[in-house]
């Protein structure tokens, strides 16, 4: 008997079968990992379970009885709760208000918050989920926001809990405590579905693991008896080298020189950036680590010209580019893989081919006398598709909106690397990608480095930071608080820098 059983689920979208005859069986009290590359169909499957999509075929059973889920309200009624990757919280409500939102107790139309408060405090204490109950959600840390999301599910007495990539935004210490919480919840009989692509985390907490690949079910395995290598092979379909072969860096001339960069925050005393100074040299990968929202975005905007800084200078290859336009920076040899591929990186309503030429459409290669050379553009896009293994429904003519996140990212990465830059600024280039794609992008970054390019990588993933970088800069509240060698620093130390608990002396 399974608490939730999804049997033979098939869900098609135009041109793709997102789920092809998938069966997922969740036992009561287990932590069940759902592993798969991007576009493998994990999110689709969970959306079916949550009632957001109606599958073409297949049935869902709860405790052996068939159930019909037509919307999130049904899911909640059946005791299914979900912590979404991007939290669904109201920022100007307090923690308490967020937790009771939607299930408020009222008496004659008046809210009864006192009972709710007691229940929330009791739950918080019982599960060790520490919260500031009266603070506005906009003012608390990401880690605490996640605890609020978990409490939301517990408050609704959900017994099936879905965690969608929950560790992406957390520090190592926070991840550790989340893992403990998950174990505790499972121990008292709740069932957890844990969507992830981080093999370490699966090994750490999960009992069983279901692997999807390209919409198909590859299998369900017992985690303790399966190695990481086996798991990744199931996921990717081939052997994956989990550790990177990295040659020694051959550091060359200075490419980027940043001095005393500051950016004010309108309406606040605190600066977004305060006196940021560092260099990036040819032939090295410098990594900016830190928890999301500590000024990394503003730093990149200042370097790439999206938002000019208030003071300080940016010099690239001996030229002062602080006030230079974005296109001129590109011509000087700066390429930029942006943090938000939907906001900056792509024009989603353009085809793959049109996005491939986004920064170069005006060059003689792609236009003559103001007319676009469609043939050239297509040929170029096809080359990019070939070289970077970009998969899409209709090749170069695919509208990028309809592509999976990983393939959208490959379009951007391919396009930027193909510009043959002197300086590559890559902001979370592997965010939301699967092991295969991450491996590929890491190799590309290393190749850039070995070819004598300067690479500035902004990443939230500590493992990525440790594995790939030649130098680590840690940002905390708009300042660089550490400049360290990855070989001489531990995860724990980095975590402390990132949380602002430690500062490198002498800066």
């Amino acid at each position: 008997m399974y608490i939730i059983e999804m049997r033979g689920i098939t869900k098609e979208f135009p041109g793709v079968v997102a789920n092809d005859d998938i069966t997922l069986q969740l036992k009561k009290g287990e932590i069940h990992a759902l592993l798969g590359e991007n576009g493998a169909g994990k999110s689709t499957l969970m959306s079916v379970l949550f009632g957001l999509y109606k599958p073409e075929r297949g049935h869902i059973y709860k405790n052996g009885e068939e159930i019909r889920i037509t919307g999130p309200n049904d899911a909640t009624r059946l005791g299914i709760g979900m912590v979404h990757q991007h939290f669904k919280l109201v920022h100007n409500f307090t923690v308490l208000e967020n937790i009771v939102l939607g299930v408020e107790t009222t008496k004659n139309g008046v809210l009864q918050m006192k009972d709710a408060r007691e229940r929330v405090l009791a739950l918080s204490k019982q599960y060790g989920l520490e919260i500031d109950i009266d603070k506005e959600v906009g003012d608390i840390t990401v880690g605490m926001q996640q605890r609020v999301e978990i409490l939301k599910m517990l408050y609704r007495q959900n017994e099936i809990l879905i965690f969608d990539e929950p560790t992406a935004v957390l520090t190592p210490q926070e991840i550790e405590s989340l893992m403990q919480t998950m174990k505790g919840l499972a121990a008292e009989g709740r069932s957890i579905l844990f969507i992830t692509h981080k093999l370490d985390e699966i090994k750490q907490v999960a009992d069983r693991c279901t692997v999807l690949r390209k919409g198909k079910l590859i299998g369900t395995v017992d985690v303790p008896t399966t190695s990481k290598e086996e798991l990744s092979e199931m996921m990717v379909g081939r052997k994956v080298v989990l550790s990177l072969d990295k040659a020694e860096a051959h550091v060359g001339e200075r490419i980027l020189e940043v001095r005393n960069l500051s950016l004010k925050n309108k309406g606040s005393e605190k600066n977004k950036l305060t006196n940021v100074s560092f260099d990036v040299n040819a032939g090295e990968i410098v990594c900016v680590a830190g928890i999301e929202g500590n000024g990394q975005t503003d730093l990149v905007y200042a370097l790439t010209g999206l938002t000019p800084p208030d003071s300080g200078t940016v010099t690239m290859m001996g030229k002062d580019i602080t006030r230079m336009g974005i296109r001129s920076r590109g011509k000087l040899g700066m390429a930029h893989i942006p943090e938000d591929r939907h906001k900056h990186g792509l024009i989603l309503d353009y085809t793959l081919a049109y996005n491939a030429i986004l920064e170069r459409y005006y060059t003689p290669q792609f236009q003559t006398c103001g007319f676009l050379k469609q043939g050239e553009i297509h040929a170029y896009a096809d080359r990019l598709i070939e070289r970077f293994d970009i998969r899409s429904g209709c090749g170069a003519d695919t509208v990028t909106r309809s592509m999976s996140g990983g393939n959208q990212q490959k379009v951007i990465v391919g396009r930027e690397i193909d510009r043959d830059p002197h300086l590559l600024i890559a902001v979370q280039p592997t965010r939301g990608l699967d092991v295969g794609a991450i491996e590929y992008i890491h190799k590309q970054l290393l190749k850039q480095r070995d070819e004598g390019k300067a690479v500035l990588l902004v990443s939230l993933e500590l493992e990525e930071v440790m594995n790939i970088s030649d130098r680590i800069l840690v940002m905390y509240e708009g300042e660089i608080v550490a400049d360290v060698d990855p070989k001489a620093v531990t995860y724990q130390e980095l975590g402390l820098y990132m949380a602002g608990a430690k500062r490198e002396v002498g800066r």
Binding site: L306, R327, H344, I347, D349, Y350, L358, E359, C394
Partner: protein, 384 residues
């Protein structure tokens, strides 16, 4: 594969536009039945058939279609680039004034040159008038809908004042007549569409200008580097900026081109040789707003806009004939408005067909799940 996808997609557009028109006609008929059941059917027949009863009538349809095709292009072009130009009315009025002024006053120019000068002057006037909301949007982030509405009214009053002080004909409370030889030439079109009446219809070379303009707009948007930039700004201003495109400049250019098209509409309307002059009245030019319907019905596609403009002109002309059956103009306007209103549902209907086609077990499913973006009826989203 590529070809089929394309034909499937545009087939769907034509189908949904057709259904929208038919639904609108049915509701229009119901209103007629409620108002006066005995005359409803003959009146309705006149809406449906009048435009085709003789070639002369069709010539009139083309004559009425000329300005609204251009205002439709004006709105549609702006929409493709992410702007909602509700100010076509004011740009139309400004263009019309400059065209008439040149036609009346620039007698030192030979007629053929004067016509060209009128058209160019009208386009320039429309462009400059539209540049104001463009500049405000680009540099002050003022939403173009607000500033366009304001420039509409400012335009009307300014033009009234200009007429009173320059080319005013006090007898008729309007502008003076443009001499016949400074109007758009007929190129035999009026005689070609004259039917049995032995009296040429008002259609003239203006309709050719409108169609050429539509084709040019199509080429600019789909084939050129400039169109690539403009649409990029329209779809995603942030990504356009990231790509090094000067998005402020593009907003201004886009508004100016849009305004030039509306200004040209004004010129062609008043230089048609049909003896229309511009009255001094505090009324916004309706062609500017009809242009919004035309653009919607044509799904913002320049070629679709040509047909949408002709269709709406056809309905208007047939509608006028309903007066013969005792319907007051207000009811006629309501019926036409209802039809146009239904046309706005075209996207909804398209979505419906797209979903049905998706569900049906077709070997070759349509590619787009939703309506193609950038062809919506909502004003384009402001930058987030």
């Amino acid at each position: 594969m590529k070809k089929r996808r394309f034909s499937g997609e545009s087939g769907l557009s034509v189908l949904s536009s057709g259904v929208a028109v038919i639904a609108g006609l049915v509701v229009g008929l119901i209103i007629l039945l409620i108002t006066d059941a005995s005359q409803a059917f003959p009146a309705f027949r006149s809406i449906l058939t009048f435009g085709l009863q003789s070639s002369r009538n069709f010539g009139e349809v083309l004559f009425f279609a000329t300005p609204i095709i251009l205002t439709g292009l004006s709105v549609g072009f702006a929409y493709k680039t992410g702007l909602f130009n509700i100010g076509a009315s004011g740009q139309f009025t400004f263009g019309a004034y400059v065209a008439i002024y040149i036609g009346v006053e620039a007698t030192f120019l030979p007629p053929a040159i004067r016509i060209i000068a009128s058209l160019l002057g009208a386009m320039l006037a429309g462009a400059l008038w539209a540049a104001i909301p463009g500049l405000l949007k680009a540099y002050r982030n003022v939403h173009e809908v607000i500033s366009c509405i304001m420039t509409n009214w400012i335009g009307i009053f300014l033009v009234n004042w200009l007429i009173l002080n320059t080319i005013f004909d006090a007898m008729r409370n309007s502008t003076r007549h443009v001499p016949v030889d400074a109007n758009m030439p007929g190129w035999g079109l009026g005689a070609f569409f004259q039917g049995d009446a032995l009296r040429p219809s008002s259609v003239n070379s203006g309709i050719i200008v409108a169609i050429v303009a539509a084709i040019l707009v199509y080429i600019i948007l789909e084939k050129t580097k400039f169109g690539y930039e403009l649409k990029a700004c329209g779809f995603n201003q942030n990504a356009a900026k990231y790509a090094g495109i000067n998005e402020k400049r593009n907003i201004i250019f886009s508004m100016m081109i849009s305004g030039a098209l509306a200004g040209l509409a004004g010129a062609l309307h008043f230089l048609s040789g049909a003896g229309i002059t511009m009255n001094v009245a505090n009324v916004l030019a309706p062609q500017g707003f009809t242009g919004i319907s035309v653009a919607l019905l044509g799904l913002n596609n320049p070629i679709g806009i040509i047909f949408a403009g002709i269709l709406i002109a056809y309905l208007h002309l047939g509608g006028f004939q309903m007066q013969l059956f005792g319907f007051v103009p207000e009811i006629i306007e309501i019926v036409i408005a209802v039809i146009i209103y239904f046309c706005a549902f075209v996207l909804l209907i398209k979505l419906f067909f797209a979903n049905r086609a998706k569900r049906a077990p077709l070997p070759d499913p349509p590619v787009s799940a939703g309506p193609p973006p950038g062809e919506g009826m909502d004003p384009p989203p402001d930058e987030r």
